[in-house]
């Protein structure tokens, strides 16, 4: 009868420890069992290495973990219930959220209610049960804080995403606090725990690079969303750490350890790919292409406006050179139109300056400089309804609407004899309410609510262009009139 020496037993113990078996005396039993199996093989004349190689194939970490999982499942009724709840609610919330997303894309009714329901199931049932199940499986020191922090941080973060999508108040607060907990409590503790767990220097460095890379990468996403400076730099450092250092190191060590690529590894790789690559692509692509559209539109509007300015000056000169009888008849109309158009232009300019001052937090002259090239505006994606909409619609958008309406009245009187022109003006300066998503929206809401600064600026420039256009058309028309 062969029996193993201390060194051989230690090797087996360290292999079993890798599977992190913490349940009761299960680890002792598994170690003893594996030792007996190896001794049994050795009795047939094999040496230790050959014997252990054979047995190891049936006793990999995954197999041992599965035994522990089955034991939990058989004994702990709570664990069994949580696993069941996890499976069912995970599927349900996925289905609801998928439906809600499709409905939201098509602007169907009730999509928001469904979205909230999906998030509620996800946050309140699936997520806690998943964490409980994991908590039962991995019993390690400081795991209470670890699991609690990921639970609270994760829920806060998910609520933040929901609020952001629904444009509800407090999204930034939830996102920020969720991120803070995940980044500065959960991940550091995870790092500490993993460092303690790993035995070799190589494992330690892999864990270090992986988790620090993750922290930096998540920090960069947060910076990007909140428009802090340095997001791009952090994102580059984080993704370099993750993609070019952590992944190859991790792959290499996994490959050495198991000798073959397991399904679990491929799953991890794909998740990482989606997570990192897609979020980078999304962040870069969306911001660049969308901004291009805005800035092109804005540049066009500015060009046309300045051209129309010159043209209008010429038209006013033409009018002044008319015979006195014509001048006397139309002078007050022309004067009123010129006056109102100028006032509208000035109001539009000052609204733009106020918007940039607020979103970029700069003084008036800097804001004017930023407006010369809208790509320099920092508040590209922030939305602030307090300026344009205000409480109970007393913001600048309403003032603008009133000014435009008065301007339109003057135009209407001047063009009363030309129905076609009158209609055209009505279309170009349209301030009526809009029916969208099965609900009435005021013109102010439709144009400016929840719009990023850069978008509002583009809209304002467009309105200025339209003002000049109708001004031009009307004066031109008056010039053709005879006494």
């Amino acid at each position: 009868m062969q029996s193993l020496n201390n060194k051989q037993i230690e090797l087996i113990i360290s292999d079993v420890e890798e599977a992190r078996i913490t349940f009761s005396h299960l680890a002792d039993e598994l170690i003893d069992h594996i030792c007996c199996e190896v001794e049994n093989e050795m009795n047939f004349g094999k040496n230790f290495d050959e014997a252990y190689d054979i047995i190891k194939q049936q006793t990999g970490s995954r197999v041992l973990q599965k035994i522990q999982e089955n034991t939990h499942y058989l004994i702990d009724i709570n664990y069994r219930r949580m696993k069941m709840t996890m499976k069912i609610t995970g599927n349900i919330s996925l289905a609801i959220l998928g439906m809600a997303t499709v409905m939201k894309l098509f602007h169907w009714p009730f999509s928001n209610i469904l979205l909230m329901l999906g998030f509620a199931v996800l946050c309140l049932i699936f997520f806690p049960s998943a964490i409980y199940a994991n908590y039962k499986e991995v019993k390690i020191k400081s795991s209470k804080i670890l699991h609690l922090s990921v639970l609270i941080g994760g829920i806060l973060f998910m609520v933040g995403v929901l609020f952001k999508v629904l444009h509800l108040f407090g999204a930034a607060f939830f996102l920020f606090s969720g991120w803070m907990i995940l980044l500065f409590i959960f991940l550091p503790i995870l790092l500490y725990v993993k460092l303690n767990e790993s035995t070799s220097m190589r494992d330690k460095s892999i864990v270090m690079v992986g988790i620090i890379g993750l922290i930096i990468f998540e920090l960069s996403t947060m910076f990007k969303v909140f428009h802090y400076k340095g997001a791009a730099m952090l994102m580059i450092v984080g993704s370099i750490l993750l993609v070019t250092i952590f992944l190859p190191m991790f792959t290499y060590s996994k490959f050495k350890e198991i000798g073959k690529i397991t399904g679990q590894y491929i799953y991890l790789l794909i998740t990482a790919m989606f997570f990192i690559l897609l979020s980078i692509l999304l962040a870069l692509n969306v911001s660049i292409s969308v901004l291009d559209v805005f800035s092109n539109e804005e540049i066009n509007s500015v060009k046309i406006t300045s051209y129309l300015d010159q043209k209008n000056n010429k038209l006013y000169e033409d009018f002044r050179s008319k015979t006195d009888s014509v001048k006397v008849k139309y002078e007050h109309q022309v004067f009123a139109i010129q006056n109102r158009a100028e006032m509208a232009s000035k109001l539009l300019d000052s609204i733009e300056i106020v918007l940039v001052m607020k979103s970029d937090n700069v003084d008036e002259s800097t804001a004017k400089n930023h407006l010369k090239d809208i790509n320099t505006i920092a508040g590209k994606v922030t939305t602030d309804n307090s300026i344009m909409i205000g409480e109970r619609n007393n913001g600048l958008a309403n003032l603008l609407k009133q000014k435009l309406s008065r301007f339109k009245e003057d135009l209407r009187t001047a063009t009363a004899s030309n129905q076609e022109l009158s209609n055209n003006i009505e279309n170009l300066i349209n301030t009526s309410d809009v029916f969208l998503d099965n609900e009435n929206q005021t013109w102010e809401q439709f144009m400016f609510q929840d719009k990023p600064t850069i978008c509002s600026i583009t809209v304002l420039k467009d309105i200025e262009k339209r003002v000049k256009m109708v001004e031009s058309q009307t004066i031109q028309y008056i010039n053709t009139l005879k006494k």
Partner: protein, 117 residues
């Protein structure tokens, strides 16, 4: 080799039966005994064995004691006082089931069963 799906429900009484015959047993010993007695037809994998043993322990049917053997901890299982009764019940249940199966599997079982009655 017997199909896994057939063995599934019978493991519990088999383990209890073995424990009531011997004073105490450890995990590996149980797998080897089952293999030996069944002439290799029933192979009790350690993946199936340990969850059951732990469940029995939590239910108070068996108790454990730890001993250091060959430089490693060995966990011995034995029946508790209440466990002895449980073992008898479960084994009787299985025997009853096997007898029923035997009747079911006989040719023309319906006829013979009716005559015997």
């Amino acid at each position: 080799m017997v199909q896994n799906s057939l063995i599934k429900g019978t493991l519990n009484p088999i383990i209890l039966r073995l424990l009531s015959e011997r004073k105490r047993l450890y995990g590996y010993e149980i797998t080897q005994l089952v293999k030996e007695i069944s002439d290799g037809k029933i192979e009790l994998t350690f993946g199936a064995l340990y969850p059951i043993l732990h469940k029995l322990e939590v239910d108070g049917v068996v108790k454990t004691e730890s001993e250091v053997i060959n430089n490693r901890n060995r966990i011995y299982y034995s029946l508790t006082e209440t466990g002895k009764n449980t073992a008898k019940e479960r084994v009787a249940e299985l025997e009853d089931f096997v007898n029923t199966l035997r009747v079911l599997l006989k040719p023309n079982f319906g006829l013979e069963y009716a005559i015997a009655k």
